[in-house]
């Protein structure tokens, strides 16, 4: 009996412990089970089972009033039968009373205790095997149970089984481990390495130059040289002189045809981003330094040298583009924008002679002639595959998501949205947060696409972007494509991939701006040259082509044809239709803070490329 109680205690402890584990897992948003509560509950259950003396059976047995003056053997028999019945206490009490009465009636005429015992023994023999009798009694009594009680019992049994299965499922689900089968870092290194010859690689030179910039010596001034005070400019000039070697290295790097880093495994192979991205802070500083020096030289009238530094800066940006990680490409785009922005400003601020402009045009034409401005998503795709490999298990059912790992990718997911909107009361937001949490948890546990489906969705997503990324905004509008919406349809319901489309859309729109500015720069330089040579601006861009200053007019990414040009006395305006895809005659729209909106808005304004839109003067 004691062993049975211990086993029962262990089982109850296991169920309670399992439920607590699940509760704990839910409250900490699907963390892996602590596996402390379960053994603890089992241990407590075991101890309770071992120490518990007064069970329902023993309580029954201690009630002697039912037995009257029955002999010991009869009492023992009745207790045995009733004990083995294992049924509701009330029913057992009734059966006990009935059996006791039967024995009592049977020995009613006996004179001595000995005789009573003998007669009882005969009756016990007539009753037969107590175990079988108990079983028959239980079965018969069960049949007597009213329908509603049977329904309640069955319902609770079903719920119990369901909870047990759920607990087992959740524990199995939460303790899933990923199956790392592919070395995606090696694959990434294979695609980024353009050639085998290491001497053609700019990365080591940039790395060395970046490492030479000491944090404590780096001028902590603004990055826009034109806005620096004379003291700050002096500080920058001194730093440039002191770091001549840095410039030599970065210029040498910019002269190299290729740039690739070898991605290394991170310190923790279980981390989501398992490879180490190169030091981009150092690269950005190199770009700022080149721009500072270019401005310094332009101030001194050394335009050719200034343009050479701007070219190196642009080249540095280009080196970060291509089949590299998205973060590198974004920094590359920013550096390119930094370089073209500086060139526009210099062309606007200084009167540069025709020959220097011609050289600049030639250099810049060569620089961007083969440039694919579009973002490459190859490395991103590999990174996504690596992430899928690490967030999903590799086994049963095509591999399920591992919630604790998903949380590493999206740390904000586990934060129940207690922040809510300011309009909501704290109570409302807590309720909403709880609902979101339950929805998320249920979705992850039962409905989220598995590993295979996620791989397929990722492949489809990247194929889709490969297909549409080269389209200009005007083409996208003409074909009435909503890229983000269509991409979201592909990854719908996949928590791991749903963050990709909005991010990609934002990046693609940035790319269009950089491309427009880089391509139009050549036209602007050509127009300035024409003005220097002819003494006036051409009436149209066709005239500029006819005079052999440019080969073609860049396409307006937001318009039906090429960029728009208007001669305005002794100045001109060059613009793209901008985000509203309409010709607003080069109107500039401003943000609330007075800064010009570079691409206009979806309602008004154009993307004015020349003259450079200036911020509104503060009242």
């Amino acid at each position: 009996m004691r062993i049975k109680r211990i086993i029962l205690g262990i089982l109850i402890g296991a169920v309670i412990g399992g439920l607590l584990e699940c509760l704990n897992a839910f409250l900490t948003f699907l963390m892996p089970p602590l596996l402390v509560l379960l053994p603890l509950a089992v241990l407590v259950g075991c101890l309770v089972g071992a120490l518990k003396k007064g069970t329902t059976d023993s309580r029954l047995h201690n009630k002697n009033e039912d037995f009257g003056h029955l002999p010991v053997n009869a009492v023992a028999f009745i207790r045995l039968v009733v004990g083995k019945m294992r049924y509701r206490k009330k029913v057992r009490e009734e059966v006990q009373a009935e059996l006791a009465a039967h024995f009592e009636d049977n020995i009613g005429d006996c004179a001595s205790e000995q005789e009573k015992e003998q007669i009882s023994q005969q009756l016990i023999a007539e009753f037969g095997d107590p175990k079988l009798l108990a079983v028959l009694l239980r079965r018969a009594k069960k049949r007597c149970r009213p329908l509603w009680r049977t329904a309640v019992v069955r319902t609770f049994q079903t719920i119990g089984v369901f909870i047990l299965c759920l607990v087992a499922y959740v524990i199995w689900f939460l303790s899933g481990k990923p199956l790392i089968s592919t070395d995606y870092i090696a694959e990434l290194n294979r695609i980024v390495r353009a050639v085998g010859d290491e001497s053609l690689n700019a990365a080591p030179l940039y790395g060395k130059a970046g490492n030479m910039i000491r944090d404590d010596m780096y001028p902590s001034v603004g990055t826009n040289y034109r806005e620096l005070t004379s003291e700050q400019k002096e500080l920058v000039a001194r730093w440039i002189t002191d770091n001549a070697e840095v410039f030599d290295l970065v210029t040498a790097g910019a002269g190299k045809p290729y740039c690739w880093h070898e991605y290394m495994a991170g310190p923790d192979v279980n981390e989501m981003m398992s490879f180490v991205v190169p030091d981009l802070k150092g690269v950005r500083r190199l770009a700022f330094a080149l721009r500072w020096r270019a401005w310094l030289q332009a101030e001194q009238g050394q335009y050719d040298k200034a343009f050479e530094d701007i070219k190196s800066c642009y080249r540095l940006g280009q080196h970060l583009r291509g089949d590299k990680t998205l973060i590198e490409q974004l920094v590359g785009i920013a550096i390119e924008a930094l370089a073209t922005g500086a060139l526009y400003d210099m062309l606007s601020d200084y009167h540069i002679d025709s020959n220097t402009l011609a050289q600049l045009q030639e250099v810049f034409e060569r620089l961007i002639s083969n440039e694919d401005f579009m973002i490459s998503l190859k490395a991103e795709q590999i990174s996504t595959c690596d992430m899928i490999q690490k967030v999903f298990t590799g086994g049963l059912g095509g591999g399920h998501i591992i919630p604790s790992r998903l949380r590493k990718v999206f740390p904000e997911v586990h934060v129940i949205s207690t922040l809510g909107s300011s309009m909501q009361t704290q109570q409302q937001s807590r309720i909403k947060g709880t609902i979101d949490f339950v929805e998320n948890s249920t979705y992850i546990l039962f409905l989220h696409p598995n590993k295979q489906q996620t791989f397929r969705a990722a492949q489809e997503l990247y194929d889709y972007y490969d297909k549409v990324k080269a389209k200009t905004p005007a083409q996208i509008r003409a074909e009435e494509i909503d890229i983000e919406k269509q991409a979201m349809e592909i990854v719908k319901g996949n928590m791991l991939l749903e963050s990709c489309p909005p991010m990609f859309s934002r990046i693609l729109s940035q790319v269009h701006l950089v491309k427009a500015k880089a391509e139009s720069l050549i036209t602007v330089v050509a127009l300035l040259r024409y003005r220097r040579d002819v003494g006036r601006y051409p009436d149209s861009l066709t005239e500029l082509i006819a005079a052999n200053y440019i080969k073609k007019v860049p396409l307006d990414l937001y318009g039906p044809a090429s960029l728009s040009y208007k001669k305005n006395g002794d100045s001109f305006i060059l613009y793209s239709y901008g985000l509203n895809f309409k010709d607003d005659s080069g109107e500039i729209v401003y943000r609330e803070d007075g800064r010009p909106n570079p691409r206009g808005t979806e309602d008004a304004g154009d993307m004015v490329l020349w003259p450079i839109p200036k911020p509104l003067k503060k009242q």
Partner: protein
């Protein structure tokens, strides 16, 4: 001669219903009544008696209730229900048919002379 076999088990419910149709009884009384009224030929095993009574109760053929017996102690009495009476009549009819059939098979040898 006592019957404690499958044969008796098959007719035990009818026997119990028949005895109870003459008045409510508690378990011990019932087992005594069966033996007495069958001239000690039919004996219902005690291990069968209570499960049988509970089964009949589950089928609503008998009704059990606690009451003070003549001795002053509480006993669980069983009485036949309306449904029990109908079932008894049906079973009796079948038994009569069975007896008739057996009689024919045995050429009247089963009928006492």
């Amino acid at each position: 001669m006592k019957f404690e076999s499958q044969l008796l088990k098959g007719i035990a419910p009818v026997v119990v219903l028949e005895i109870l149709s003459r008045g409510p009884m508690y378990g011990y009384e019932l087992s005594q009544a069966i033996e007495q009224r069958s001239g000690d030929i039919l004996t219902l095993g005690k291990g069968t008696l209570y499960p049988l009574l509970y089964n009949l109760e589950a089928k609503k053929l008998v009704k059990g209730y606690w009451e003070d017996a003549q001795s002053g102690r509480k006993r669980r009495y069983y009485s036949i229900t309306g449904k029990g009476k109908e079932e008894l009549a049906k079973q009796k009819e079948q038994l009569r048919e069975l007896a008739k059939g057996l009689d024919l098979v045995f050429g009247g040898a089963l009928t006492p002379a």
